[in-house]
């Protein structure tokens, strides 16, 4: 009886978004009387940071400070339609919709500024601090608030914009099964090292080394946070979690956290991450999506590492000590 060390790897291309009946997201942007902007979405922030990233993207496009943008995701009745927060699509699809809406609003704001400054709108730039000035002549300037108010009170213009980003439905080729489902891919390479006890079937000392390619990390801290948390969820799916441990027999179904095994802070894997940025041509400021991609590669890498350690191929999740022991015994029986 012994502890066996094993190493497993996984590399993946992760598609952003899904081939539904078309995959659209929409955004509406408008200016408020105090010179700030509201972005209305029905996209959902579940804690992954969708509101923060939409806010950054809107501010960057409008040319105003992040503090001047409010993102309203209160209700799918008050925001324009979005397919939802899934398939790692939020940053890419919603971000692009926000850019389209913010560009339209920005153009109207610059037209009003051009009237006020008596110049051509094409010669105007924003400084990102809430000011619009003539290119090369920062002295010839107007605040975004004054420009927006002039648009509304003098020129009768609504400083607002509508944006939609759509990846159209891709039909499946009946002969080859081929379809073009996505617009861009994110990538991961991962190495998992672990130890398997062949007496108890327990997996311990898990260590993850990974590289994630995420397009541009629009909010590097949120990206890092999502990768760490998501990989932990992947490890949890690989080794611990199931709602139906003895499916189809349901008598031993977990009914609370006391019987649903989920790793706690003492079951952490050390995880060293390298984040690679290769901005996507069709991404909002180069961003792709990190969402599900952070969890997925952990599962095959763990299964591969267990195979490397004790020579059993595990094809059912989660890979519990019981399953590992049964597989080891089966292998010994066949060998005997």
């Amino acid at each position: 009886m012994a502890i066996h060390k094993g190493r497993g790897t996984c590399a993946m291309n992760y598609p952003i978004g899904m081939n539904l009946g078309g995959d659209p997201s929409q955004a509406l942007v408008h200016s408020n009387p105090e010179g700030k902007f509201t972005v209305a979405l029905s996209s959902i922030d579940l804690g992954q940071g969708m509101k923060s990233v939409s806010r950054q993207v809107a501010a960057e496009t409008l040319g105003v400070p992040v503090e001047d943008v409010y993102v309203d995701t209160a209700d799918s009745d008050t925001g324009p339609h979005c397919m939802g927060s899934f398939a790692s699509r939020g940053t890419h699809r919603v971000g692009n919709a926000v850019i389209a809406a913010a560009k339209e609003a920005r153009a109207i704001m610059l037209e009003a500024a051009a009237e006020e400054l008596e110049v051509n709108a094409a010669d105007l730039v924003t400084d990102g601090q809430g000011n619009i000035h003539v290119k090369g002549a920062p002295g010839n300037s107007i605040s975004t608030q004054d420009a927006c108010n002039a648009a509304q009170f003098k020129y009768g213009q609504s400083v607002s914009g509508r944006g939609i980003f759509l990846i159209p439905m891709s039909d499946v080729d009946p002969d080859t099964g081929e379809m073009s489902t996505v617009s861009c891919f994110a990538h991961t390479a991962m190495i998992v090292d672990l130890e398997v006890d062949d007496e108890t079937g327990e997996v311990s000392n898990v260590r993850i080394n990974s590289a994630y390619e995420v397009g541009r990390a629009l909010n590097p801290k949120l990206v890092e946070q999502q990768l760490i948390g998501g990989a932990w969820m992947g490890l949890s799916h690989a080794l611990y979690e199931t709602t139906e441990p003895y499916y189809p027999s349901r008598e031993h179904r977990p009914y609370s956290f006391s019987s649903y095994p989920m790793p706690g802070p003492g079951d952490l894997a050390q995880h060293d991450i390298s984040i690679l940025e290769r901005p996507a041509p069709d991404g909002p400021y180069g961003g792709k999506g990190t969402g599900e991609m952070c969890a997925n590669p952990v599962l095959p890498a763990v299964a591969n590492a267990i195979y490397d350690a004790v020579g059993v191929e595990m094809d059912e999740l989660p890979i519990t000590p019981e399953k590992i022991l049964r597989a080891i015994h089966e292998k010994q029986r066949q060998g005997a």
Binding site: G47, Q225, I228, G229, W232, F257, G264, P265, G266, L268
Partner: protein, 159 residues
């Protein structure tokens, strides 16, 4: 069911309410006193989102009978910050130790209780101290780092 007059201190202020005999502390805090910082997670004492301190010891308020805190000192997350945030709250924000935020009140109550009884915890002590608290988003690492940082700050040393 009989209504009990229930008096206790919450975050230093006297509180008097009528509670059912079977009411748990969480439902009294949230429903009758209006302190929404403890969260209802599982309602079974399994997740730690409802954690508060009673006379300095952490309890899971969803499985604590409200009548058991009669005359005692209860402290919730709301009691940790006054004019200024508790340094743990600041460190959780700066260190991105929250994503959805639902476990955060319980985590900070557990962490503050740890730092009061042990100002010099090592990583294992911190893991032990938050092992009643489940987090679904962060993978715990940023939470442990944030607590370690505050422990070091409060000792006047560097992490």
């Amino acid at each position: 069911m009989a209504q009990l007059p229930l008096q206790f201190r919450l975050n230093g202020s006297d509180v008097a309410v009528f509670a059912d005999e079977a009411d748990n502390l969480l439902s009294v805090l949230r429903g009758k006193v209006g302190d929404l910082t403890p969260k209802f997670g599982c309602g079974q004492g399994g997740c730690g989102a409802c954690m508060v301190s009673v006379d300095g010891k952490t309890v899971l308020s969803c499985v604590t009978l409200a009548q058991n805190v009669q005359g005692r000192d209860v402290e919730s997350l709301a009691g940790l910050s006054g004019e200024q945030l508790d340094p743990l709250q600041t460190a959780f924000m700066d260190g991105f130790a929250a994503q959805c935020g639902y476990c955060t009140p319980g985590m900070i109550v557990a962490a503050r209780a740890l730092l009061r009884r042990n100002p010099n915890p090592d990583r294992d002590d911190i893991v032990e101290a938050i092992s009643d608290n489940l987090c679904r988003c962060t993978g715990y690492e940023p939470i442990i780092d944030a607590i370690q940082l505050v422990a070091a700050q409060e000792r006047g040393t560097r992490a």
